[in-house]
């Protein structure tokens, strides 16, 4: 397990305020990301958790302005990074950020690599995008990066094609590509989902190790709370395009306040906890064109009462750095009632 990250050094590295990314499709508006605010400090690892369709990946793409039409980042959203307003930059300006200051690792290590080029070429290509490094210098840099991410015999391996590598090795290559330009923020979108469990652990360890050595801030997006527990210091739980709970990781595991977070924790398989079946959260995420009124989780929530229909819950503060978007925080007595009524 990685140590909690270093304390904040002044301003946060990334500050996202009221990010709203909507998809306008044939008259309907899919509010995929709907008012997300969070900060990431330099060198910190933040986890972002939620089911598929909750808006995690769109949030990640929004940070680099990679959302294609019909998707759009709505006005009023703000993304500040290293003191710059990313949404005010022109195309050339945002390209200077992408891959250079903020890098991204995608989920599928097979498909995120171009099958017709060697991995060395692909790592070197990133260097050539951002500097007028010679072919040779870029190649050397690529080998250095492949070495950094723990690829054995990088000089030989650089000449391999993606299909000649295992999934774990390919994910290492993607990480190498992301880190070529020494970014200050790495966005890792489900970096271990497509991998075997043992390889997952290695990749997480690698990310944690690089984060320490390079002073990298990491936004780790996953649906797997186990992954979050291993490497992050703070967690953002997303549901329905919003952050429904945020807390330091230990606190989140010890004292989850949002019923959705509890559901996720109960759905986690754990050693030493005998159960006949894993708990599941009933129902599915509603389509982003039709979020329910009031609380977006109310249809699936065992505690929901009339207030959850009438009133959208704000983020209620729970403790320092801990808040939850649930009326139960405001009215804890309801929880006792419901628990007494037999919720497991």
């Amino acid at each position: 397990m990685t140590m909690p990250s270093r304390p904040a050094a002044g301003e946060p590295l990334l500050r996202v305020h009221d990010l709203r990314t909507y998809f306008h499709v044939g008259g309907a508006v899919a509010r995929a990301v709907d008012g997300v605010s969070f900060d990431i400090r330099a060198g910190e690892t933040v986890g972002m958790v939620g089911e598929s369709g909750c808006g995690k990946s769109v949030t990640a793409l929004s940070l680099l302005r990679l959302v294609d039409p019909p998707g759009r980042i709505e006005s009023g959203s703000r993304i500040e990074f290293e003191g710059r307003d990313l949404l005010a930059l022109d195309e050339e300006g945002i390209r200077q950020i992408r891959g250079n200051r903020i890098a991204m690792v995608f989920q599928e290590p097979m498909t995120a690599l171009n099958p017709v080029f060697t991995i060395g070429d692909q790592v070197a290509e990133v260097a050539r995008v951002h500097s007028n490094a010679s072919r040779k210098a870029a190649w050397e840099r690529a080998i250095e990066m492949l070495n950094l991410v723990g690829i054995p015999d990088p000089r030989d391996r650089a000449k391999s094609y993606p299909h000649q590598l295992s999934g774990g090795m390919r994910q290492r290559v993607l990480i190498a590509m992301a880190l070529v330009m020494n970014p200050s923020l790495l966005i890792a979108d489900e970096p271990t989902t497509a991998l075997d469990v043992t390889i997952q652990a290695q990749i997480l360890e690698l990310i944690g190790d690089l984060q320490q050595r390079l002073g990298l801030a990491v936004l780790l997006i996953t649906h797997d709370l186990g992954v979050v527990a291993e490497v992050t210091s703070r967690v953002l739980v997303m549901y329905g395009g919003q952050i429904v709970e945020r807390a330091p990781v230990r606190e989140l595991f010890r004292d989850p306040r949002h019923p959705y977070t509890r559901g996720l924790l109960e759905a986690m398989p754990r050693l030493g906890r005998q159960r006949d079946r894993l708990a599941v959260i009933p129902g599915t995420v509603p389509p982003p064109t039709r979020w329910p009124s009031g609380c977006r989780f109310r249809d699936r929530c065992p505690f929901a009462w009339h207030r959850c229909v009438d009133e959208a819950p704000p983020e209620y503060p729970v403790a320092a750095e801990h808040s939850a978007r649930c009326h139960l925080v405001d009215d804890p007595s309801r929880m006792k009632v419901a628990s007494a009524a037999g919720h497991s």
Partner: protein, 304 residues
Amino acid sequence: MPNATPGSLVAFADAAPAPLAPWAPGRLVALFRGDLTAALAAVTLVVIALAALLAPWIAPFDPAQTFDIAARTQPPSATHWLGTDQLSRDLLSRLLYGARLSLGISVLAVTVAMVIGTAWGAVAGYAGGWVDRVLMQVVDAGLAIPRILLLLGVVALWGTLSMPALVLVLGLTGWFTASRLVRAEVRATRERDFAVAARATGATPLRVLVRQVLPHALTTILVAATLGVGQVVIVEAGLSFLGYGVAPPAASWGSLIREGRALLGTAWWMSVFPGVGLAATVLAINVLGDRLRRVLGGQQLHAP
């Protein structure tokens, strides 16, 4: 008259991602292994291409050289292997030089067509939106007009064409299908993760297009170009046959067939040998194009 529509677009095969780089030599070897037809086609094509390239050195006579009156319209003999024409010129020599013209014009025209078609289709496919719609409407319009009509129209306007003009005209009327295929390939490829990942590394759209996306259209372009050469050989022959091709005394295969047409009953060799050369070339090209497509996994293109 050969079918003059510039290649009809047929069903798209589900192009699986190539496990090997398209230019890996192993894949080209696989092309001929245990495939007699393909091997034969390749040999035929190599022989014809060599003959065309080496015509000035291997032709027994100057193709424009005339002999005495007794040597007119002679059938194949020891001196003139393929006979002579009505001006007593050596047919074999004319045929060799004709191959040079026919193939040279076709290859150059297809190069022009592929450059335009690739650029056009790549921009349409990558940009999408209204750019795509406008560019593809131009292509649809181009495909709606039979190529030979378009060509005859141009030729009628200009009278006889110089060779560069002929190449240009053939190229400018031959890129529509290729641009459609490239567009389809680019559209599919630009959505793939590695293209999105390349954008996330800060690459410009042009860079993503050229370095990440277009290499995946290479096999499609290669196959389209191969079949395109076969097509243009025929179209050029058609034009020359109608008397609108290269200006005499230069003669492509089409012109030779035209010259022999009137004497078909008495001097069969004058049109049969160029005809055989034409047919063999186009057949070989189409067989090879088809095999290339199969081996490289390109999209479905019909031989003309």
